[in-house]
Symmetry: C2
Subunit: 363 residues, 2 copies
């Protein structure tokens, strides 16, 4: 008890800042067996991006001085009664409860992504928030436990708690205790492995992945075969990655991306995230592989039209060249290359996102 009081006084009003990166799934997460606890039907696998490529930086401070939680994202105050934001922000309540604390928090977060990258920021945002709050509440939780927490904000966020190649174990326990993320390969294991993100223009209407995957589970007769198909492919992909076999990794990643988008398309009503630009990139990657006579690159698409092309350093130029005509035509708006990066890190106080206004509130 004495310890807790000490910690309280130490962290009270003090700003903690963490940065984290989003991840690109190579084996996809699509479908929950438990909507409330966010428990998936199948295990998934991802590469965490390098912080220098895509990152979210989040500062948090708890203080008795403030009456309600405040959340600023990219300079704009967010409405915490908005359902989607509330669900993501709920991890703060989980952590506060674990710490036995009641103070409200100010959270200031910013995404450092290329303009209009269309990159989903919920994974990096939730990972950075969980990481910073863990420090601010002096909970001392390990990454495994933090991944369980992050999972409850947004499923795929649990994978951004680790760097390198990360598995999210589906688990089987109804309470979710065995559904957490784990690093399988650190970011140094295969330094030649890269992802080339090709940002495309989109006029697609947004279907939230939360609603979309629920509809797939409820309406798609093909979904029954998905969990075991994904598990088997994950196993194959991990083995291919272990032997640094780009053909094996790329083939699995393409097959899994196609399988997920096929399941979306055969949902009622159909969910289509891929557009003509996405298909043009798929064609380009198929041509590259046909010309090479072997699979040297693979595409993968999350719940949006942007492509991630995975390959190895040796083929980077070749792929950039093949994408160039699509950039000239405006089909691809920009590309960004990333190796596997690290998990979230705490930044020192120089990097606080808090402005004068927020700091005044805390004093």
């Amino acid at each position: 008890m004495r310890n807790l009081v000490l910690h309280l006084s130490e962290s009270e009003g003090r700003v903690f800042t963490a940065e984290a990166s989003p991840n690109i799934a190579l084996i996809k997460y699509w479908g929950k067996r438990d909507e409330k606890r966010i428990l998936p039907y199948n295990s998934s696998l991802s590469m965490t991006f390098e912080h220098k490529t895509f990152r979210t930086v989040t500062s948090i401070a708890f203080s008795k001085k403030i009456k309600e939680d405040l959340f600023y994202l990219n300079g704009v105050r967010q409405n915490l009664s908005d359902r989607e934001i509330m669900e993501r922000f709920s991890i703060l309540n989980l952590l506060r409860k674990m710490a036995g604390r009641r103070e409200r928090a100010v959270v200031v977060s910013r995404n450092y992504f290329p303009t209009a990258s269309g990159m989903a920021s919920s994974a990096s945002g939730i990972a950075a928030l969980a990481y910073a709050a863990n420090a601010a509440l002096d909970l001392g939780l390990g990454r495994k436990e933090l991944s369980r927490i992050a999972r409850q904000g947004s499923g795929s966020a649990c994978r951004s708690i680790f760097g390198g190649i990360v598995i999210w174990h589906r688990g089987s326990s109804p309470d979710g205790r065995d559904s957490y993320a784990e690093q399988l390969f650190d970011e140094k294991y295969w330094q030649d492995f890269i992802s080339i993100t090709a940002v495309v223009s989109s006029s697609a209407k947004k279907v939230s992945s939360r609603a979309g995957m629920r509809q797939t589970v409820e309406t798609n007769p093909l979904f029954g075969a998905r969990p075991e198909s994904a598990e088997a492919r994950l196993h194959d992909l991990v083995n291919a990655y272990a032997r640094r076999d780009i053909s094996g990794v790329a083939a699995c990643a393409m097959a899994d991306s196609n399988e997920m988008h096929a399941l979306m398309m055969s949902t009622s009503p159909p969910i289509r995230y891929l557009n003509a630009a996405s298909h043009a990139i798929m064609d380009a990657v198929e041509s590259i592989n046909n010309d090479a006579g072997e699979i040297i690159a693979g595409y993968t698409f999350d719940a949006g039209p942007n492509a991630n092309i995975i390959t190895i350093e040796r083929h980077r130029e070749e792929i950039t060249r093949a994408i160039a005509p699509l950039m000239k035509k405006g089909i691809v708006k920009g590309i960004k290359v990333s190796h596997a990066g690290t998990g979230p890190v705490l930044l020192d106080s120089r990097w606080s996102m808090m402005g004068k206004k927020e700091l005044r509130m805390l004093k």
Copy 2:
């Protein structure tokens, strides 16, 4: 025996001509349980087009005067050692064998389809050939038996042996005896029901559906759920058609088209028949239905990018109007409206496709 001789002399060298129409599947056929006998994993359902919209006219004559089978399609002599043509033409050998006849045949066939309609002609071609040959060989086979024969030339051809709404029973017998087509509703049952074929431009590389469906069966982990999903949906669609419920029919047709194309896309390597134009039509139909507040039209795509939009007469104008901007942009190259049509019919001798050259060969 006397009878046979009489028939022989009657039909020897005489030209028989039949016309038949292709069909659009509302519940799709994709995947064979027996490659050689062309036995499907699931029953399928289609509407036969009106002859005046799309038809194939085929003339046939058997004669002792000719040394080898000759096949002219759209004025061009076809190579009967080409595998695909040989497989389709094989029904002639089946029929000849059943008739105990040995004479070779001259076959002249022409497709009356809008220019570059991209409409698959194998179903109408095989149906017309089977129908004309049945007469020329004086076999007197009924439509059910002819559908079994046509099936062995190309699966979906068996459905073009009937008019109206036609089911192809998958059957369960290994020898295929219970896998044949049957008319469920004649062409007069629901005269308001129409299909609007929207022809789009395509630069897609061709994957034959024969090879494509084999790859789906062999490589797609989701395929296992397809047969029962299709059977259940077929049942629902038939019930909706029976009560002339366009919402029910269109919803089933869209779901089944999406399911088939999803299975193609999740095949390794992926098979993509739909292009950006197809997706634009899907969007247009979704908008029409959203604006109407109920499903008044449905899209369905076979193994190609052309759309068939099913609806009822009352909404024909509305749909044509919604497609007009796509025609202006050149995305849709033409439309053709069809009610359900009749099965194959024999034409009188005025309509023979035979030219002077072919007739000389027979004498």
